[in-house]
């Protein structure tokens, strides 16, 4: 795993590559989030300096879009779809069950840093409603009873 210095070098390369294209700020921040897992304040400062924009502009963008995280997320990010199709098929119950099993409110990360629980906008997999994703893995046609078994796969 690259250490922090290497990550900042990676970021500097990205900035160098993209800084001349119009509207570079968001693509740079998206790359930064991939590198660091979040855009924390030190990362925002580096971006502001590299692109020659103010820190407030970077912070404004970081807090406007739900994709940008200011704190690192857990190893496994659980996203429960609360799109309309999933909601009418009971995804709130799935979310409640997860919150109960993990003992964290929605939007939070477990103390061991293993799970982050998010409610998300429509994932577009409405045919499988209700749906959740754990990192890249998709789980569809869920029932609350299925949750403990699915979580167990990740805690082993």
């Amino acid at each position: 795993m690259p250490d922090k210095k290497e990550k900042f070098e990676q970021l500097a390369k990205v900035i160098e590559e993209l800084k001349d294209q119009p509207g570079a700020l968001m693509p740079v921040m998206q790359h930064a989030q991939n590198i660091f897992g979040c855009v924390s304040l030190d990362v925002q400062k580096a971006i502001a300096e590299g692109l020659g924009v103010t820190l407030s502009e970077v912070y404004g963008v970081a807090t406007f879009y739900s994709q940008f995280k200011l704190k690192p997320a857990g190893k496994y990010v659980i996203s429960v779809c609360l799109g309309t199709a999933c909601y009418v098929k009971g995804s709130q119950k799935i979310l409640d069950k997860l919150s109960e099993e993990l003992k964290i409110p929605v939007g939070d990360t477990t103390d061991d840093g293993l799970f982050t629980l998010n409610a998300t906008r429509c994932l577009g997999a409405c045919g499988l409603a209700p749906v959740m994703t754990i990192n890249e893995e998709v789980y569809g046609r869920l029932t609350p009873d299925a949750i403990p078994g699915i979580l167990a796969k990740y805690t082993e």
Binding site: P22, G23, A24, L25, M26, P27, M29, Q30, E57, G60, V61, F64, Y65, S66, Q67, F68, L82, G83, T84, A85, Y87, V88, K89, T120, R121, C122, L123, G124, A125, C126, G127, L128, A129, V131, V138, G140
Partner: protein, 599 residues
């Protein structure tokens, strides 16, 4: 080109990929090779077939046998029986919901779900391999661009789109040709073409399916638009939540460059065009055109007042023409077949077809494309197969958070832009969520308000503060703390927000509340006056009771109850203490005798 005796088409859309189609494709390739058939049978990963409910979906041609809910374990049987011996595997064939028929000889077009459809925007989805430009070319791909660049003037292209009557498929329904004409008329050496692929309406996924199943159709249309309005650069703003769509767009752009269909001097016409992809970052308001352009510029996606319209001053302060994905997907067909053909489909003021994403409490979840003017009843019952488990239909929600809920009495409404608005809803991007008797309409209105409160960008007060006040009232009502005058307050707030909010998000945010107040007012009144939720959905108003006649005293419910609210001796009728009951519903699930009910 090699010729194969059979093709196995396997859906690689998001829905089917999520239920394991990638593994199924890999298994097919492996097994077909093992059987020595790899020179005779080709496996194609296509885009979405539309019938997501039946996914993962596999179709074997030339017979057109339609296999549904295929599992990796089923692949061996399909290869050994169907591909090797020519005998379709009967038990895996799709069962038609309406007829309960499982007919292997029925082709796709004869199945109830597809029979009433007419596919223009989705014509190639599920038919071609979206990552292979040759397959798009074989289906007349880029012929419309060639025709436009070599045989038509810029004015003729715009005129053709104008005459076709095509209107924006993203929601507003603005005449597409007019938008093109306005941008054409704007002076300036630099103009932009942009594509709105920030499909944010929950429950709508047609744009994603077009990008995943037929990305070249969008690229081709953008190039045609670029030629027409005088732009050499295009941007596609796509949701980061659609990784498969993003990847296929990238592949498609690269291939189009290799074939000289994007880049410098296309078809030796002197016209050059290039397309860049920009990823959204999770903000619903960025589907609004001025907010979307701010976001491409790398700024906070806040809308700005119009005028100036983007056609005059848009992206990077240059004239910009923005259409959504489905709108573009229609363009090459209009150029190829002419405006007369296109305008012969649909209703007087809404031409062509519309794609709807059917979801919620409906048997055939998926994407359907029907001529404008098809009735809600045809879409929901003949195509969608009605509500599952014999439940009663209550409402259909169209237009996402900007739309409304329509009741059973309006099922015979022919669907087009104007009829939906007259009925109190709107077309929106085409989400169509069906609700049955178990859905509480007050809670649905609350759900949408929660969404808009969350997604309001905060720039203007009516939207930022007004929608929050409405949500607070709705929260009170579903908790049984509402008052009758709350209904008047809701209506007054709604009227003011609609009249004063800056952008489309705020102006339409009250619609779900207004339409449910109009058609399901009795449900609001039941919550407020009787402290009852007629759908037995709202937790605070629910009471769980055990019917002593039916209870056998098996103790299953008492053991399942996390709150220790159920009392009773073995083999005697049990009782729920309402003070301790958490209303989690676990007792109902455990009871084998149907003795527990919600009241």
């Amino acid at each position: 080109m090699e010729i194969y005796r059979a093709h196995v088409l396997c859906c690689g859309g998001t829905g089917c990929t999520s239920s394991g189609s990638a593994q199924i494709i890999a298994r097919f390739e492996e097994k077909i090779k093992e059987a020595g058939l790899d020179k005779e049978v080709k496996v194609v990963r296509t885009g979405c077939f539309g019938l997501c409910e039946a996914g993962p979906v596999v179709i074997v041609y030339p017979e057109g046998t339609f296999y549904s809910r295929v599992k990796v374990e089923n692949v061996d049987e399909i290869v050994s029986e169907h591909l090797l011996k020519g005998r379709p595997v009967q038990h895996l064939v799709y069962t038609d919901h309406a007829t309960q028929e499982q007919d292997a000889s029925k082709s796709l077009d004869e199945i109830g779900f597809y029979k009433h459809q007419k596919r223009i925007a989705l014509r190639n989805c599920g038919v071609i391999d979206p990552e292979n430009i040759d397959e798009y070319l074989a289906f007349d791909g880029y012929k419309a661009l060639e025709k436009a660049l070599t045989k038509m003037t810029r004015e003729e292209v715009i005129d053709e789109i104008l005459k076709s009557g095509l209107r924006g498929r993203g929601g507003g329904g603005f005449p597409t040709g007019l938008k093109w004409k306005f941008t054409y008329n704007s002076p300036g050496p630099v103009k932009y073409v942009a594509c709105n692929a920030d499909e944010g309406d929950p429950g709508a996924f047609m744009d994603r399916s077009v990008l995943e199943g037929d990305p070249h159709s969008v690229l081709e249309a953008m190039a045609i638009a670029g030629y027409a309005i005088g732009a050499n650069e295009g941007y596609i703003y796509v949701r980061a939540e659609y990784p498969i769509a993003v990847k296929r767009l990238e592949v498609a752009i690269k291939q189009a460059h290799e074939y000289g269909l994007l880049g410098e001097n296309i078809f030796d016409s002197g016209f050059s065009f290039d397309i860049k992809i920009r990823l959204g970052a999770g903000a619903f308001v960025c589907g609004e055109e001025t907010a979307l352009m701010r976001s491409i510029e790398g700024k906070r996606g806040e809308p700005i007042p119009r005028p100036p319209f983007p056609a005059v001053k848009g992206l990077f302060a240059k004239p910009t023409m923005l259409n959504n994905v489905e709108t573009y997907a229609n363009v090459p067909q209009i150029i190829l077949h002419g405006s007369e053909w296109f305008s012969s489909i649909g209703t007087e003021k809404s031409k062509g077809t519309k794609v709807f994403a059917l979801g919620g409490k409906i048997n055939n979840t998926g994407l359907v494309e029907v001529p404008m003017g098809t009735t809600l009843r045809t879409i929901i019952y003949d195509i969608g197969g009605g509500c599952p488990n014999g439940k009663k239909f209550k409402a259909v929600q169209t237009g996402g958070p900007s739309g409304g809920c329509l009741p059973a009495e309006l099922l015979d409404t022919p669907v087009d832009y104007d009829n939906l608005i007259a009925a109190g809803s709107m077309m929106g991007s085409g989400g169509m969520i069906v609700m049955d008797e178990d859905n509480c309409m007050v809670d649905i209105a609350r759900f949408f308000l929660e969404f808009t409160v969350d997604e309001s960008c905060g720039k203007c007060t009516p939207c930022r503060v007004g929608t929050r006040r409405m949500l607070e009232i709705l929260n009170r009502i579903v908790e049984g703390k509402g008052e009758m005058e709350d209904l008047d307050k809701l209506e007054e707030l709604a009227k003011n927000i609609k009249a004063t909010a800056l952008c489309g998000l705020g102006q339409t945010a009250p619609n779900p509340v207004l339409s449910t107040l109009k058609f399901f007012r009795n449900e609001y009144i039941a919550h407020i006056r009787d402290h009852k939720c007629p759908a037995h959905h709202c937790k605070a108003l629910l009471e769980y009771v055990i019917d002593p006649e039916k209870c056998r005293g098996c103790t299953a419910c008492a053991r399942a109850c996390p709150g220790g609210a159920i009392e009773g001796k073995l083999k005697e009728a049990h009782h729920i203490d309402p003070a301790k009951c958490l209303k989690c519903g676990q007792c109902i699930e455990k009871c084998k005798f149907g003795a527990i009910s919600r009241k």
